[in-house]
Amino acid sequence: MAMSRRKTERLLSLVVCLLSARRYLTASQIRDAVPGYPESFDAFKRMFERDKDELRELGIPLETGTNSSLDEEPGYRIPRQAYGLPEIRLEPDEAAILGLAARVWRRAELAGAAAGALLKLRAAGIDAEETTQPGIEPRLQTGEPAFGPLWQAVRDARPVSFGYRAAGRSAAQQRHLEPWGVVNRHGRWYVAGHDTDRGEVRVFRLSRIDGPVSFSGPAGAVTVPPGTDVRETVRAWDTQPETRRTAVLRLRGGAGFGLRQQATGQRPDPEHPGWDLAEMPFSDLGWFGDHIASFGADVVAIEPADLREAVIGRLKGALA
């Protein structure tokens, strides 16, 4: 505790000292001004190097430079312009929305970042409380362990590699990706980017990533093509090409409520009292066949023949 307190004091003094400086201060000048550094110059240098790293990790813009071309030793300072949050004023309704937005990530990957941002905005004089608006709770969840590293990769423009189990595959395959963005669509997280093995744009579902995500290149190595809309990339990938066909189904009276909502035409089946015939559009044979099978003895696929076969195949599989 005492050590941690001394360190906080030293770092705080260092920040104030470098922010107040009009000129670059050399390491010796800093040691003279900031209390808490050891006497030995080597020990001071080591500690000062660590302190600089810690300040930069907090996002404090610590600059290195010289005051004139005659100076041999570089100096340090924190430009106030680069340090300070620009002036921001919010009306009460805007501040309320900000408080609501800060709750969205609660317990998810960026929760700490959202809380940190809100703290800074409140320090700027904004009265944004992280409290509930009457009647609404918006949330994003990031249960997939891959979210954190992929967000960092996207943020820092770093290529990644990960094991991926594509739908229906029995084993995971190692994939290499230059990630362009992370998208949540219908409640699921995806990463889109350039797959360097295949030389094409690819979209991966985070829940199918198997094992850890590792960085496979340095920060800044990924260039997102200008005009890229990752949201659109994922939407296009997720949307099946529409080749609409029409199915004829026989539904038991009162059953298949969800299906009837989609039907283009319905009439009682004259040959089967108590049953109706319905016409339904569909595009994906596999998915639609499985869906019909899920209704069991209440819905019968009449046409087309391939749909009928698909349903029978599913039901036989369930019987075995």
Partner: protein, 328 residues
């Protein structure tokens, strides 16, 4: 990313505290005078801890060229005032993670139809983008698409009903049973979780708190009758997951082929284990197994009910009855 400072239970590090101190000075400066208790609450610390922070700030001393104390403040009578703040009177700029967290969240709210006052939302987003500067750019690489199928006008009416405390009549589709159900419900709040919108309400038919997915509400009538949510009705803790099993639930075990693995992604499973060759064993708890029978028919050979055995038997009967429809 430096984890989640301030949200965990780990002891605060020197840099966590430095961040707080750097925010504390501008917090007071921008408010001129502010109470100790109020400030402690805003920063999530105890009053003695806050006083210790203030003392630490006040003690900062620079020794060269001439010794001076850059920060002067007082907290007499429980009111904090900063008379001199030197150069730390502005908060530090937002980092990329911080700016992105808020901007992504705000843009997600903007997607929810009629959830919020659109003009206030777009004003807030614009102001935050300016304040974040370059740190806000990466947020464009994260997008959340909210599913708004048919929810638009219904959402506005529901919000109004929640605020005015009116009872609702819902016609609600339960896909697991392939039924349209009719019920009265007293609305509690609206949840927007991972892009889906839910109504949380006290269901008078079930006499329990229920979540209704808005895209499954077939019809909605706001009744001219006040809602009466019982005092013991407990809201769902969204942060613990929307669907929590109850001790009365039946435990269902399924084995899935590689083509059936999607089940583990779509349903909240209690346990998931790999069986090799991409096969998976999952267990889930549910109060009603009718939807599992339908799921098993949908899966065919790609899924098998292992337990309970009665359920496995029912699935085989269901499949046999369905196949009879196809025998001429």
């Amino acid at each position: 990313m430096s984890g989640a400072p301030g949200t965990g239970t780990h002891p605060a590090t020197a840099t966590d505290r430095l961040q707080r101190l750097l925010a504390l000075v501008p917090y007071v400066v921008s408010r001129k005078v502010v109470g100790l208790a109020e400030t402690a609450a805003a920063f999530g610390v105890s009053e003695p801890q806050l006083v210790d922070d203030l003392n630490l700030l006040w003690c900062v001393e620079l020794r060269s060229p001439d010794p001076y104390c850059p920060i002067d403040l007082s907290y007499e009578g429980g009111e904090i005032e900063v008379s001199q703040a030197e150069s730390i009177d502005r908060p530090l700029r937002l980092g990329v993670d911080e700016a992105s967290a808020l901007l992504v969240a705000l843009r997600m709210l903007a997607e929810v139809p009629s959830l919020e006052d659109r003009s206030a939302l777009s004003r807030t987003i614009a102001k935050l983008e300016v304040a974040a500067g370059a740190a806000g750019a990466a947020s464009a690489q994260v997008a959340v698409q909210v599913d708004d199928r048919g929810a638009g006008s219904m959402l506005a009416r529901l919000r109004d009903a929640v605020q005015r405390g009116r009872r609702l009549h819902l016609s609600y589709y339960v896909p697991g049973r392939d039924e349209a159900t009719e019920r009265d419900a007293d609305p509690m709040r609206l949840l927007v979780v991972d892009g889906r919108t839910y109504l949380e309400a006290w269901c008078l038919r079930a006499e329990a708190v229920r979540l209704f997915r808005l895209d499954r509400v077939l019809a909605l009538t706001v009744l001219d009758q006040p809602a009466a949510v019982p005092p013991h009705a407990q809201s769902v803790d969204v942060d613990q997951g929307l669907f929590r099993p109850s001790p009365d639930d039946v435990e269902v075990v399924l084995e899935l082929s590689p083509l059936g693995r999607w089940v583990a992604e779509y349903y909240p499973c209690q346990a998931v284990s790999e069986l090799g060759d991409g096969r998976l064993r999952v267990s889930l708890r549910t109060p009603d197994t009718r939807w599992v029978r339908r799921l098993a028919l949908r899966l065919g050979e790609d899924g098998r009910v292992i337990a309970p055995p009665e359920l496995a038997g029912q699935v085989r009967q269901d499949a046999a009855a369905a196949l009879e429809q196809y025998t001429p």
